[in-house]
Subunit: 356 residues, 2 copies
């Protein structure tokens, strides 16, 4: 049987102790997996594009465990009352090829994206950062805010969204979290005085959430929303002033903010910083940019974390997904037995084909 | 909610009226989808190789519906009492990106592979074919036999396997099917007098199940087992005497029997025959070879068939896989509500982090 974490169960699991300890725990798993980055099979995600969006498969493997995530991105879904992004994921045993763990990942992806951002900022933002601006107050915003609080000791979050209702929702959800929430009337107002700027908007087009004059010395930019071809949030002039950090260079050249830069523009991969091979932030005045697009290894970490945490709890169920015949060569015999149990017949043996 | 067909349910579904009507029905769906082959997004499968086998994702889309299959191939699994191949699949709505249907495909893949073989033989074998040899009597053999009976009017199946226990099992499962079963002591004995030869062995290496002198004029070869790099079943001399038909040329050059031939060796894609663009069998003396490796469009057809047949029946369940917040931007609010229902808390609000 395959272990399964449903939407209802992940919600109960996260609600039980709150999201913050899981953001901290997952950031630790991410750091472990980024530390052994070279052990992973790294292929670009496999996209299927359509006029309304994209469906992607994101596989990876560390040689023992294989994972993949199914994820879509459909910006128009919001207008239909549907999620822009939905996702689920699978862990499998490399030795046997058997799937072992299936989980919803619409919620888990928001948790993992926030944990990745916070883990990156731990290496890239000034340690004394306490104020974060957040441009875009949609489905991921609360997770980002809590991750930076729990992992990076952010105390104040300055919210701005073109839709004030989104800011209302985000402020309401963060009330009581211990964060100081400041609602701002514009992006420049939100960014003014912030140590960290998180951009997490959802439009599928080139937009300019941040312009060059808005970003002062020492700021760390956590750019989440520019994550597919043609979808960017930052003015290219900012990129040129910043130290740029990415997950997987080949993928980010196509999907990240750096799609606006020449193909050979120098960037650093985050795992190089985590392992100490290359420097992260070099001084307090440097502008650092984490140009995040999401990568399969991060979903691997998130699934691994969830699997380890729910094992043996009431949050995991069994899913009857993989046939297990007593004799591996006798798949057909399974049908025969099911037939004898339910009174049907296998082959033709006199049965009326009910569905011919 | 996502519709889900479990192993137990597909077995009951297939047992209810027997496998044959479904082989006929699925062959019809396959013919429909091969007829509109050009409408499909066709990418090679995405493999993750390891010493013990391979895990693959096989996506496709017709612009309305997206599908993918997870499938592994681990020849050593049999020794551990596990399936060589396990699989599951998903259908999603291209417009919204939402997964809609999840099904076990270990059993369904055996049904679809057999239906593809039979559909191909309808176009490639001599219409008067009544005798089939089957070399390899493992997990797929009964499905192949019944498909050729139901779709192609095969009356006699001549069984051979290096392991007599496999032949015993196959003969036992086919007893009462209406097929005349002949157990043979060798591959040449099985092939003698056969109109169709199905090779469906499981070894992950170059083996020579059929040699040139075994194959007479007019025979149709249904080559199933040669389906990955380094894994072939036929002597290359046979290939050179045959008209060769494949699913997707680019994939078959790497995975099929034709990996033994030059990269520009002429082959015909099956869809070209189904649509009448190119001839199938040209005369009664021609040797035809369906060099089958399995392609994503076939899994699309199989999932579509199963979805249509189980809709509204007791064979389908609901799977809580995709989060559906009332407000699409308020994913976080779902946790909050789950917390209020179960007494946990979101954020820190005084909760003890049970899993930190």
């Amino acid at each position: 049987m395959v272990q399964f974490v449903s939407v209802a169960n992940i919600l109960k699991f996260l609600a039980r102790s709150g999201v913050e300890p899981h953001l901290v725990g997952l950031a630790r798993y991410l750091e472990e997996d980024f530390s052994r980055w070279e052990a992973f099979e790294k292929a670009p995600r496999i996209p299927s594009h359509s006029p309304g969006g994209v469906i992607e498969l994101m596989p990876t493997s560390d040689g023992e465990t294989y994972s993949f995530k199914y994820v879509n991105g459909h910006p128009g879904n919001t207008r239909k009352g549907l999620q822009t992004v939905t996702a689920f994921g699978v862990l499998a045993d490399v030795t046997t090829g058997y799937p072992r763990f299936v989980a919803e990942m619409t919620v888990l992806t928001a948790v993992r994206t926030a944990a990745v951002s916070a883990m990156a900022a731990k290496h890239l933002a000034r340690p004394e950062s306490r104020v974060m601006a957040m441009i875009g107050n949609g489905a991921q915003s609360e997770f980002q805010a809590l991750a930076f609080k729990a992992v990076n000791e952010i105390e104040e979050v300055r919210l701005y969204d073109i839709d004030p209702a989104a800011t209302d929702k985000c402020a309401r959800n963060l009330a009581g979290s211990g964060l100081r929430i400041v609602r701002c009337g514009s992006a420049p107002e939100a960014v003014a005085g912030a140590d960290i700027v998180t951009t997490v908007t959802a439009d599928k087009r080139r937009s300019t959430i941040l312009t060059d004059n808005m970003v002062g010395a020492g700021v760390h930019i956590n750019a989440i929303g520019g994550d597919s071809p043609g979808k960017t949030e930052l003015h290219p002039d900012i990129l040129k002033r910043a130290g740029i950090f990415v997950e997987l260079t080949a993928q980010s050249r196509v999907e990240g903010e750096i799609q606006q830069l020449p193909q050979d523009y120098p960037v650093t991969e985050l795992w190089e910083v985590v392992t100490g091979r290359r420097p992260g932030r070099t001084d307090g005045a440097q502008i650092t940019l984490f140009d995040s697009v999401g990568f399969a290894v991060e979903d691997f970490s998130a699934l691994r974390y969830l699997r380890d945490r729910v094992r043996g709890t009431q949050f995991v169920e069994e899913l009857d997904l993989i046939a297990e015949p007593d004799d591996s060569r006798d798949l057909f015999g399974l049908i025969d037995r099911a037939g004898r149990q339910s009174g049907g017949v296998v082959g033709r043996r006199g049965a009326v084909p009910a569905v011919a």
